[in-house]
Symmetry: C2
Subunit: 269 residues, 2 copies
């Protein structure tokens, strides 16, 4: 899903100003390319009674679910990632899952919000894609103005309480000679999925056909390129489906939360 | 607290065999130097009703509390870090805190164990000390057969629910010219406290007198050496005191849990 809003008009805006535009409904488009240098994040909201399992799930599955911030129950303010922000309104688009099914897409969740809700922010691949580009590596889906290709794998997440499900990966094709560099560059960002989970044969992780991704757009792979697979922040949405989670609210794919943190805050060290 | 047991007799034993000796009560000594290459861990046990706060506390304070494994409620088996092990018996010595006060030191906690207990394992400085030694950096307290010097700082942990308290640091003096290397080498292990929190002036983090540590042994600092301070796994014990936690069981300082994981499993990437 490429950005369809007027990117030029918002270039140079701070994360805070961007969030203000989203809060007022003036920006409902994907967030790729906004506020370069600042980290964006996946959102997951669950009731407090399910929050322990989800917190533990993130701890046990840090590659797909690198936890950046967790709100206090009932608070929609991510006090670490963006003090003063409101997670009910400051993303351009949300998804509401009930009983494991996608129920609706909405542009704010004020009327859904409950005093027992806990919000989780997870690191996002935009962080390491920027690092790949700075290292001279191609990021094909950005070049093509498309969304990354994402696949449900045969790899199981480590379960936590009631939560279980497959690891979802995003795929980026990289020229054969760039593979080691792509591993090193992305490995610097463990709080944004880090190094890839798998390099090469898609069948080895249960992916039958690269041309038919489960989320996002089909890829374009050139001769001499190797498919590389990174753990993906869409994994909680696959878990919501598999484990038939009662209620989970997430960002809509590509419509992330723009934090005040720097991409470099997601690096190791 | 230097090892007083017969280290020669247990050199070369696997983590599993070492845990068996601890389970049978044949090894009640500190674990420094045991099973080189394998990672050791701090232990924290709390009831399930307090476990969400502690889990969140670790997420919010990953430098002092790098979470390695969390058991399911009632289970004493760390299924990730050491399948088949029993955290009630497989450490040489434990501390029991009630209402924020150290109540007793015991060599097993079978009779304390409750079906609602959750156990947490946190990465340990032994991992990065080994890396410092391999990099040719001195680790003074090991050279001297003593325990590291640990200090309560004026830095506050990020609170989580009922939990709050100061960051505890361990100090190692490093020759001035070795400081950058010590930062880089330890920064490779974010799941074992990672890079130091502070380098130089102890007063800047509220430490009045290096000669009087709050835990461990007084240091020996040579001319030309700079004190370097790393976040420390004793922090939860300071939090238990400050927040007057109802019940927390931990390892006794220096008497760690020997995992089946490699030190390198605690590196980034």
């Amino acid at each position: 899903m490429p950005p369809t809003g007027n990117l030029q008009a918002v270039q140079g805006l701070s994360p805070r100003d961007l969030r203000r535009l989203m809060r007022s409904g003036e920006w409902r488009e994907p967030t790729a390319g906004l506020a370069p240098g600042f980290a964006q994040a996946n959102l997951v909201v669950v009731p407090r009674e399910a929050a322990y399992d989800f917190l533990l799930f993130c701890q046990r599955n840090p590659k797909p679910c690198p936890l950046i911030d967790v709100t206090d129950p009932g608070s929609a303010e991510p006090a670490y990632a963006a003090p003063g922000a409101d997670l009910r309104t400051d993303l351009p688009k949300y998804r509401v899952y009930r009983h494991g099914k996608l129920e609706e897409e909405v542009t704010e969740i004020t009327r859904h919000w409950r005093p027992d809700f806990v919000a989780f922010l997870l690191g996002c691949s935009f962080t390491f894609e920027g690092a790949m580009q700075r290292a001279g590596l191609p990021v094909r889906h950005i070049e093509d103005g498309r969304n990354a290709s994402m696949y449900v794998t045969s790899l199981a997440c480590r379960p936590a309480g009631a939560l279980h499900g497959p690891v979802v990966v995003s795929m980026r094709p990289v020229p054969r000679e760039g593979v080691p560099r792509a591993v090193l560059v992305t490995g610097r960002y463990p709080r944004a999925h880090g190094a890839p989970l798998h390099v090469g044969d898609p069948g080895a992780i249960g992916i039958r056909d690269l041309a038919h991704p489960d989320f996002g757009d089909p890829p374009r792979i050139e001769p001499g390129e190797v498919p590389m697979f990174w753990a993906c922040g869409v994994t909680p949405q696959a878990v919501a489906r598999t484990a038939r989670v009662d209620l989970m609210i997430t960002h809509a794919p590509g419509h992330m939360f723009v934090t005040d943190l720097l991409d470099e805050d997601f690096a190791a060290g």
